[in-house]
Amino acid sequence: MKKSKIFWGYAVLALVIYAVVQLLISNGVIQNYYQNMFIAMCINIILAVSLHVIIGVTGQFSIGHAGFLAVGAYISAICTMKFGMPFITAILIGAIVAALAGLLVGIPSLRLKGDYLAIATLGFAEIIRIVFVNTDYVGGAAGLQVTHQSTWTYAFFGVFITILVISNFTNSRHGRACISIREDEIAADAMGINTTYYKVVAFAIGSFFAGVAGAIYAHNYYIIQPTAFGFLKSFDILIFVVLGGLGSLSGSVIAAILLTIVSTYLQEFPETRMIIYSLILILVMLYRPTGLLGSKEITAYFKFGKKGGTRV
């Protein structure tokens, strides 16, 4: 079938990108510093895409994504550090617990709309953070030391699976149901869509992958501290999605890549870093008010398929 040909095209492209970067890493062409940038990029892509399914697809304005990132990070760190589980199991457990946290937050708060939902999710994310600050078992405010286990391989396949699952979800009757909620909730309801169910499903999928990102994050930076998961982190993720274009999966991927590169290089200018970063955001919003790609996918500009998909 034609569609599966397109899929295999992307899969091969992804493998080539993976192999090239892996080769450069093992030959020492890419130094530790840049290897770290690539992993950070992957984490940001996973976060952007997982928030995209909540905001861009389903239209639920959640700004507490860092809360689920924190759950994934801490739970996976506990799994590896306290129980000595293998990393891959820890990623899965972290993601599942984050998804459960998403359900817990989503079921009561998704009755709210727009600004009210935003404030509620922000509040929940802060609660999650405060819980970790006050739990001595995970080191409280001082943080939890984690061994470095994240590699380019884990990060890349994390991205690959995230994009695959979310684009499969979006391009199915379930994804269409979510988009119809974004477009007009009353009409969606009248057409037989169980709106509450799909909002919660999108929320749970989004928080699941935020948990995956959290697990990779925790095992990349040697230590995790609650301060890293404050609302500023939530806004960082929100910026990827808005800058890329609400409703565009490839847009949020591209925005995550660009902004990771920008902020990595800006680290050499610590005094002016935030000013330049902010200026870039303002300029993009002035000249592309609907985001880099609007609501289109990048493939719409090339016309050879329907799925979103340049990755890394």
Binding site: M1, V165, N168, F169, S172, R173, H174, G175, R176, A177, I179, S180, E183, D184, I186, A187, A188, D189, A190, M191, G192, I193, N194, T195, V201, G247, S295
Partner: protein
């Protein structure tokens, strides 16, 4: 009368101290085309909203196909077999014409979330079936040429048609049309009437129609209910309604005294 498809008894709703609609009694037999008319603010759309679950009635009973549906969530009402269009068009603007219809087809599809995420065969079969069925509806409404167009880019008359196509794709037994001819010119209205008559036969539908265009209502409806100030003031055949003094007073005014 006990075999009626839709049976509404003593229906009413109160918003705070305001009784928006009260004591509405109506019935519809299988296959009937019924009009619901009344001046602006009479409570027609409010009644529709109660029938479809958007509002929960504060009193009365709605029986549909032998089941009580008063106060059910809208999506559950739709799955029982009542589908509707909206007075102010509510299409999914950023979705294509085809996808708009597919959304309404959602409730009939069986493939689950897991099969879609892992792209199991049941996903492909299910999606293919949805596409085939949705395209068939588009064809009936002459919309198949627009299938990949975004709904917001359609001309107004086509958007109205798409609303009806979308409502039909939910496989209703009872179709509620809320001013389907609003804003249409005479030619478009005429085409629409023919279309309504056609789909009614084709899909064995029962239709409840809210309409301001008196020609349309009098021309195609078998029976008419008249609402005014939230109360039912008359019901009967078009001829009876035309000569009912209460209706003339409330709605038709002086214009009908020919």
């Amino acid at each position: 009368m006990s075999s009626a498809l839709l049976m509404v008894e003593n229906l009413g709703i109160q918003f705070g101290g305001l009784k928006a609609v009260q004591n509405v009694e109506l019935y519809m037999n299988q296959g009937e085309l019924i009009g619901l008319i009344g001046p602006n603010g009479a409570g027609k759309t409010t009644t529709f909203n109660m029938l479809t679950g958007v509002y929960t009635p504060t009193e009365g009973k709605i029986m549909f196909d032998g089941k009580s549906i008063g106060g059910l969530d809208p999506y559950k009402v739709t799955r029982q077999g009542i589908s509707r269009t909206f007075q102010n068009i509510r299409l999914f603007k950023e979705l294509t014409v085809l996808d708009n219809v597919k959304v309404a087809n959602h409730g009939l599809a069986k493939h689950n979330l897991i099969s879609s995420i892992f792209r199991l065969p049941s996903h492909f079969n299910g999606e293919e079936k949805m596409e085939k069925e949705s395209l068939a509806f588009l064809k009936i409404f002459g919309l198949d040429v627009y299938r990949d167009e975004l709904a917001k880019n359609l001309p107004y008359g086509m958007q109205r048609r798409l609303e009806i196509a979308r409502a039909l794709a939910a496989a209703p037994k009872l179709l509620l049309l809320d001013e389907p001819a609003a804003g249409m010119n005479a030619k478009e209205t005429h085409d629409l009437m023919e279309l309504i008559a056609f789909i009614r036969k084709e899909f064995d539908l029962t239709i409840l129609l809210i309409e301001h265009d008196m020609n349309l209502v009098m021309g195609i409806c078998e029976r008419i209910y008249v609402l005014d100030h939230g109360q039912l003031i008359a019901s009967g055949t078009p001829a009876e309604i035309r000569s009912n003094p209460k209706v003339i007073e409330a709605y038709l005014g002086e214009e009908v005294t020919e």
